[in-house]
Amino acid sequence: MAETTDIPEGAIPEATVTVDHPGLPELGPLEDDSLDSDLMTLNMGPQHPSTHGVLRLELKTDGEIVSNVRPHIGYLHRCFEKHAESLTYQQVIPFTDRMDYLAAMNNNLAYCLAVEKILELKVPERVEYVRVIMCELNRIASHLVSFGTYGMDIGAFTPFLFAFREREDIFDLFEMACGARMLYNYIWVGGVSHDLPVGFIEKTRAFLDGFAAKMDEYNDLLSNNKIFIERTANVGVLPLEAAFSYNLTGPNLRGSGYKWDLRRDDPYSIYDRFEFDIPIGSGEMGQLGDCWDRYMVRIREMAESVKIIRQALDGLPDGDVHETVPRNVRPPKDTECYFRSETPRGEMGIYVISDGSNVPYRVKVKSPCFTAIAAMNDLCRGHYVADIIAVIGSIDIVLGEVDR
């Protein structure tokens, strides 16, 4: 303190800074080549709110641009296929609930239809109609989750609450029918577990009547939201060629502008009796096959599901839903089939081999989300890290089904 008084008034002292950091190298002139421009490895997940479950992505980034994505799966592997080889055909059904837990009815149906196909079992008309009603309701519920969580990934919280409000209504209907809200074990080989309860049809109609107005809310809230469009249009463009090579199916394939829906093109159950459109992406907001297109296909599919449910309710015949439920399922020896059905996430394939006993010799599930994650690298390359979130949300994966 005392030394400062020695400086004469008006004179500015020369800066005398001596740098003396023992152990550190002396600072030299900054050269361009001393700037390291290597790729950085960034780990995303497995516990990450935007990976929709336990998915781990290993990103190689150049600054903020992603140059490579390597997905690691298996965190939710529960040996479904091994379990299935030690359970009877009917006992496998609850396990299928737990694969794609957002669309358990559709999983039940895929498995049961595969077993019925090797049994060559024909179920009563009423069962077919009830199954279609349940599966389409579940499709709406599943797309609602996809819609709500996608909004949340992008930064819009409100749509999520709106979506879950309607999803609860659908769950109330399921609870009426079978007592469970998420994992139903409702569709059985040869039938369904319970007939529709009294009041179910009226309540379903009431729900459908109110749903059109709700869809307008969704579009106002999210689909046509400027910020949302900026974040999703022209991001994660999926060319049709790549979609085929990766066997992407369902809304992901339709988002790229290809009209292919098993319910129309390879009809199973009684889907060929219903009138409905197949929405496809058209590049309205950006390029064909971008995230917005895939998202919008799901929104429009909900309206088509409403149409199907209405027609099914109108045509619902009387009958006994347990009439053809076999007491003992023993498909003929050495028969096998590969059955694919349209779940909300795409084509789910069930490959069943029978050895003539009441236990399947082999059950293989081809999950639509499995192939969607396989395509992650090609979808994400060249995008910003923040866009990876948009891409994951847009392919709508459920890790329970990927890992099985």
Binding site: S245, C337, T371
Partner: protein, 156 residues
């Protein structure tokens, strides 16, 4: 195309490397293991067959041999077929079809993980669902689960 027509088409091209056609609930064609990559490449690119997607690839263990099953589908022709190759249980080896359909990369990794089938020429043959240091191939019929995994008792 019916399964018989697909079979005839393949046999005209590949001769005795296509073994036979079996009619079942879903028919399948047996192919010699060394020819599978070529057959798949042809099935994808031939104008009449046009199998643009590999719907599923599964391994199956029949206790005396192993089978790899390829389910091919065509949306433009609306037909589908299964191809099967049979390999021995000791050191099962099949050429990869990764270069024909990209999705085969992951399907083959799964078959390797669960059955120990080695896909020759595969770019990244690692376990996919089980941890990298897991022992044995879980979906083989004679699989015995390891007693401990990294010091943790494995409950069966």
């Amino acid at each position: 195309m019916t399964a018989q027509e697909i079979f005839d088409n393949l046999q005209a091209k590949f001769g005795d490397r296509i073994i036979d056609l079996t009619e079942n609930v879903d028919p399948w064609i047996r192919v010699k293991p060394e020819a599978i990559a070529e057959v798949c490449d042809y099935a994808r690119n031939d104008g009449d067959l046009d199998f643009e997607s590999l719907m599923c690839l599964s391994g199956v263990d029949y206790e005396d041999h192993m089978t790899v099953v390829y389910h091919l589908g065509s949306s433009s022709r609306k037909h589908k077929i299964a191809l099967k190759v049979e390999v021995g249980r000791d050191e099962p080896k099949v050429p990869t079809v990764e270069r024909v359909w990209r999705v085969a990369n992951w399907h083959e990794r799964e078959a390797y993980d669960m059955y120990g089938i080695v896909f020759e020429g595969h770019s990244d043959l690692r376990r996919i669902l089980c941890p990298d240091d897991w022992e044995g191939y879980p979906l083989r019929k004679d699989y015995k689960v390891q007693e401990f995994y990294r010091g943790i008792k494995v409950e069966v």
